[in-house]
């Protein structure tokens, strides 16, 4: 197990590193020019542009810039900018081109909102998806089953941003059935304000994501319900409820956990559309803004967070497998 974890950790570091290099290269290959966008249109003279470029160290060769950035991640670095000297301790993600604030702080201040949003939505879509999946699998072929499957397909095929926009418009703004969405930190504003502000995006994101889970759970349950071991369980004289949940569902969990790991990595690295529509200031909004501003340090920061989350959650899924299925050995 320890050896396994060490090997996986080494692999994780290299995956994150490759993601960072790719982002860096793509940024400089692409048409973006942060110096020009900072310089502005009217009063931008070539001298001023060169000045900005120099102060942002954008005039150095790309490999050197990357080495500098990478060094900062592990040992920190000193950033000199227009006569000011800033100490950036490891892991240093640099300073925003735009706001001059430290990227690390920026990301950490946004992270709780995204985590709150993702975890709350997870409760909704896992609960709803698995329950509906189990329910329909047991009544396979019934009218209810066909209705639910049809609904998930229709609902799942409408673009999410349209659903979310209409949902926010009709249930939150025109008819304020749900409280207006806003992020209140759990620690300072208390659980009630926190939950009320996030209720609408939780429901929307949860509902939209649950359609996939309904179908996965249903397909997986249909398969396990016809397994011999479920028949054995039934022949023991235990309740049907126990047969379904302890025996069949336990056997049906692995595929659901796989998808859950990947989905959570995606949600935790920022739910761009949800955060934008419901005005939650999380990682997703930060990433969106920084892309518009050519704000390389912030972009790099969000990529780093996303890549790390994907790697970690994949590891978590693999470890979860070994708990679900004793035949899986981590070697």
């Amino acid at each position: 197990m320890a050896l396994y974890l060490a090997r996986r950790a080494a692999m994780a570091v290299s995956v994150v590193l490759v993601a960072l290099i790719a982002t860096f290269v793509l940024f400089f290959v692409g048409p973006s020019d942060p110096a020009r966008s900072m310089c502005g249109d009217q009063r931008c003279t070539p001298a001023r542009l060169a000045d900005i470029r120099h102060s942002m160290k954008l005039d150095r060769p790309v490999p050197e810039q990357f080495t500098e950035y990478f060094k900062g991640l592990f040992v920190g670095r000193t950033i000199v900018n227009g006569g000011f000297t800033k100490e950036c301790s490891a892991p240093c993600l640099g300073y925003s081109f735009r706001t001059d604030r430290e990227v690390k702080g920026e990301i950490f201040s946004r992270f709780p909102a995204t985590v709150s949003l993702a975890l709350g939505a997870m409760v909704v879509f896992v609960g709803l998806g698995v329950t509906t999946g189990v329910y329909t699998a047991r009544r396979r072929g019934s009218r209810l089953d066909r209705t639910v499957v049809g609904f998930t397909q229709v609902f799942g095929s409408i673009p999410y941003y349209i659903l979310a926009l209409l949902f926010a418009l009709y249930l939150m703004i025109l008819n304020p059935i749900l409280p207006r969405s806003i992020y209140h930190p759990l620690t300072t504003d208390g659980p009630l304000a926190w939950a009320a502000g996030l209720l609408a995006p939780w429901i929307m994101l949860g509902l939209a994501t649950s359609t996939g889970y309904t179908r996965y759970a249903r397909a997986s349950m249909v398969e396990t319900l016809s397994q011999d071991y479920v028949r054995t369980a039934r022949s023991k004289g235990i309740s049907e409820r126990r047969v379904v949940y302890r025996h069949a569902l336990r056997g049906a969990l692995s595929p659901v956990v796989t998808i859950l790991g990947l989905d959570m990595a995606a949600l935790l690295s920022g739910t761009l559309i949800t955060e934008q529509i419901f005005e939650i200031n999380g990682i997703g909004r930060l990433a969106l803004q920084s892309l518009g501003n050519d704000d390389l340090p912030i972009i790099m920061g969000t990529v780093l967070v996303a890549a790390t989350l994907v790697v970690i959650l994949n590891l978590v899924v693999d470890i979860a497998y070994s708990f679900i299925d004793p035949r899986v050995r981590l070697t």
Binding site: D228, R231, T232, G237, I238, R250, G251, P326
Partner: protein, 355 residues
């Protein structure tokens, strides 16, 4: 194997009860609607199972042997199954019983050992827990007591180090050990009837013999009735007291095992016996029954076996094609039943097969 029987009801009571009918099946019909039409899986089946005796139900795949015994536990989905007739299990009607009634008799009165222990045990739970769960379902005991009982059962079926092995998962067991564990699971609540559905099919030959011996020993100890479902006549000869031969959902021959094996009356039974490999006789090839089992959706007219039967000429006329023969006592022997138009099956057998 433990020398002391760990669980035993009063042996004298068992002796007195020996022969008591614990399962009485009468005119059982089981049908499933399907896309092709109604599947007549079991038709007009009647038989008894008695304490202390082993009844072997023999037939090809699709002859209705597994379907009929699954209905004894009420394991068919009532929404997709049409059942009629009667299954009296220890005085209780199973056909039409409620889910809670079925739940009560499963494992406590009747238990089933399934064909493939690899897929019949839950891959994610420890063997001991799977057995203890069945015990807890019918006894108000703590987990520790149920687990102790599971370990006892594993010991009883001859699993070494039962304490340690109870904590193993099914994939850590060999095929024979898994089948022993299945039998332990079947017997944990000391049921009056144990149905073993092809218990040795997935096992190699030496292990098969061990499992059959185990079943025999346990029957002696528990005094339960065993219904053994098999297509393997060698297994039948080994353990059965009574035989019921099924073909296309119907009983075609019934009687004491010794008599049916030594003096078979139905042409289908002849075919089954002939298709057995023999070590003593010189045989160039095995004589299989020609043709294939009929579709249960569209059964042949008259006798279901007639398309594959070589003895219609001996009956004469078109009785075999037009009229379903009844299950009637054999000529000169009321204890034997056969479903055939032949008036003198023994004569035909002697002339045509053993001339």
């Amino acid at each position: 194997m433990s020398t002391q029987p760990t669980v035993l009801t009063d042996p004298t009571a068992d002796a007195a009860a020996e022969g008591e009918v614990v399962l009485k099946v009468r005119d059982l019909c089981v049908r499933f609607p399907s896309d092709e039409g109604m599947v007549n899986a079991v038709s007009d089946l009647s038989y008894d199972a008695r304490l202390g005796r082993t009844l072997a139900i023999v037939g090809e795949s699709g002859s209705g042997k597994s379907v009929s015994s699954m209905s004894v536990l009420g394991l068919h989905n009532p929404k997709r199954t049409m059942m009629s007739g009667s299954i009296m299990l220890d005085g209780q009607e199973i056909v039409g019983a409620s889910p809670s009634q079925l739940q009560k008799v499963r494992s406590s009165t009747v238990a089933m050992v399934f064909q493939d222990p690899q897929s019949s045990l839950h891959p994610f739970y420890r063997i001991g827990n799977q057995i203890a769960e069945a015990y807890k379902a019918h006894h108000r005991v703590s987990n520790a007591v149920a687990m102790k009982r599971a370990v006892e059962m594993l010991d009883l079926v001859g699993i070494p180090n039962p304490d340690r092995r109870a904590r193993s998962y099914p994939h850590e067991f060999s095929g024979g050990m898994r089948q022993r564990a299945m039998i332990a699971l079947g017997l944990v609540n000391n049921p009056k009837l144990l149905i073993a559905d092809e218990p040795t099919t997935a096992l190699d030959v030496t292990v098969q013999a061990q499992i059959l011996d185990l079943l025999k020993d346990l029957q002696r100890e528990f005094g339960s009735a065993i219904v053994l479902i098999t297509h393997d006549l060698a297994v039948v000869a080994e353990v059965a007291d009574d035989i019921l031969v099924m073909y296309a959902g119907r009983a075609v021959e019934r009687g004491l095992a010794k008599q049916v094996l030594a003096d078979p009356l139905h042409p289908y039974t002849w075919g089954l016996l002939q298709s057995l490999p023999s070590a003593s006789e010189e045989q160039d090839h095995l004589r299989a029954i020609r043709g294939a089992p009929p579709s249960l959706v569209a059964l042949p007219t008259g006798c279901s076996f007639h398309p594959r039967c070589d003895f219609q000429a001996a009956v004469g006329g078109d009785a075999c094609v037009s009229t379903l023969p009844q299950l009637t006592p054999a000529p000169g022997d009321d204890s034997r039943l056969t479903r055939c138009h032949l008036l003198d099956p023994r004569g035909v057998l002697n002339e045509e097969i053993h001339p």
